[in-house]
Symmetry: C2
Subunit: 205 residues, 2 copies
């Protein structure tokens, strides 16, 4: 009988799903308990409060996100190769954690009281990616910060917007493997276009 997965973890998973669907304001202990198939009081028994539950969900994602990025950064190679590799890892991660993409987008857009945790995390990620971007970027409109924002937008927004736009011109689900491969190719094409333009600009100056 005994479920192999502890109920505490079941609750955490359910909370992530609810959070992705309904945002922080919709993260109710009752909804989480119902989705987890568990008594509502258990949510408080294991996690204390909905706020703490929320923070634990974020923490779990943040840790995984940063770990995957950190690993990607250690890969050797040319600037261009490292750039492409980091983006590949980023795409992989989001592909397997679509709920995370949804949660982050909502949190950032809403700018509620719960923001500090998100803020800290995003700044750390910025600091990490800057190391890869800085060697090829410039200043002003070509500063690493702009490329970081643009790239993360390219990746994140696909997972949130494409499903809303519906099947693509070939009738494929935007989150199907084939469609995701196409998106991956698009992002890599974009990076190459940028790097080429940057190299050209550098050569001219």
């Amino acid at each position: 009988m005994g479920e192999p997965k502890a109920k505490a973890s079941l609750i955490l998973d359910a909370a992530a799903a609810v959070l992705a669907e309904s945002g922080y304001a919709g993260l109710s202990a009752r909804a989480v308990a119902e989705r987890a198939g568990v008594n509502k009081a258990l949510v408080f028994y294991y996690w204390g409060s909905t706020k703490e539950l929320f923070e634990r969900v974020l923490e779990r994602y943040y840790t995984a996100h940063k770990a995957s990025l950190a690993e990607a950064f250690e890969r050797p190679g040319t600037d261009r190769e490292r750039f492409h590799h980091v983006i590949d890892v980023y795409l992989d991660f989001m592909e397997h954690n679509v709920a995370y993409a949804r949660i982050v987008q909502q949190q950032v857009a809403s700018r509620g009281d719960h923001l500090p945790l998100v803020e800290t995390h995003l700044r750390e990620v910025l600091a990490m990616t800057t190391k890869v971007i800085a060697p090829v970027a410039g200043t002003g409109p070509l500063a690493p910060r702009h490329f970081h924002l643009s790239l993360s937008a390219l990746v994140l927004n696909y997972f949130t917007y494409a499903p809303v736009l519906g099947p693509d011109e070939r009738g494929r689900d935007p989150l199907s493997n084939e469609a995701l491969e196409e998106r991956r190719a698009h992002v890599h094409w974009v990076i190459d276009a940028w790097l080429d333009a940057l190299a050209k600009q550098r050569a001219a100056s």
Copy 2:
């Protein structure tokens, strides 16, 4: 004495602000009334229900958004000029309607029941922008759909993510006029890089 602005409109404005901050689940009649400095019952007197209020807020933004885009499309010029102009108008609109950017991002990311309205709108916008993108785009990873997603991501996400990252390397507020000008330059640079790469690709084939 007599406010020039009807209370109905005050309520609508307040609703937009609450919506941007707390999302659909946080759009409570009480919060809206309080922010508008108005009795709670007035919300229902003028707008019927919170759901209708939500839809009116979206409608108002959608109408303005589509109108500004439609006007931009009529501008004559080369493909490249028209492309840049459409993006300029898009940036202008978001700059003056940051709350709209936040609301859309949250709605899209949450994928709740209220989605159909958002869905219809976004598909219409896609259909519009495709007319400008198609002449210069390609197929597969270079299909108009991908560029539409990438471009709208570049614009939208700046307004939601940049404030979370804090002041830029020169200590400026990301939503200050100067910082916004820099972002505008970045986006235009990106478009040029893309168009150049596309032209080169076309010439090679």
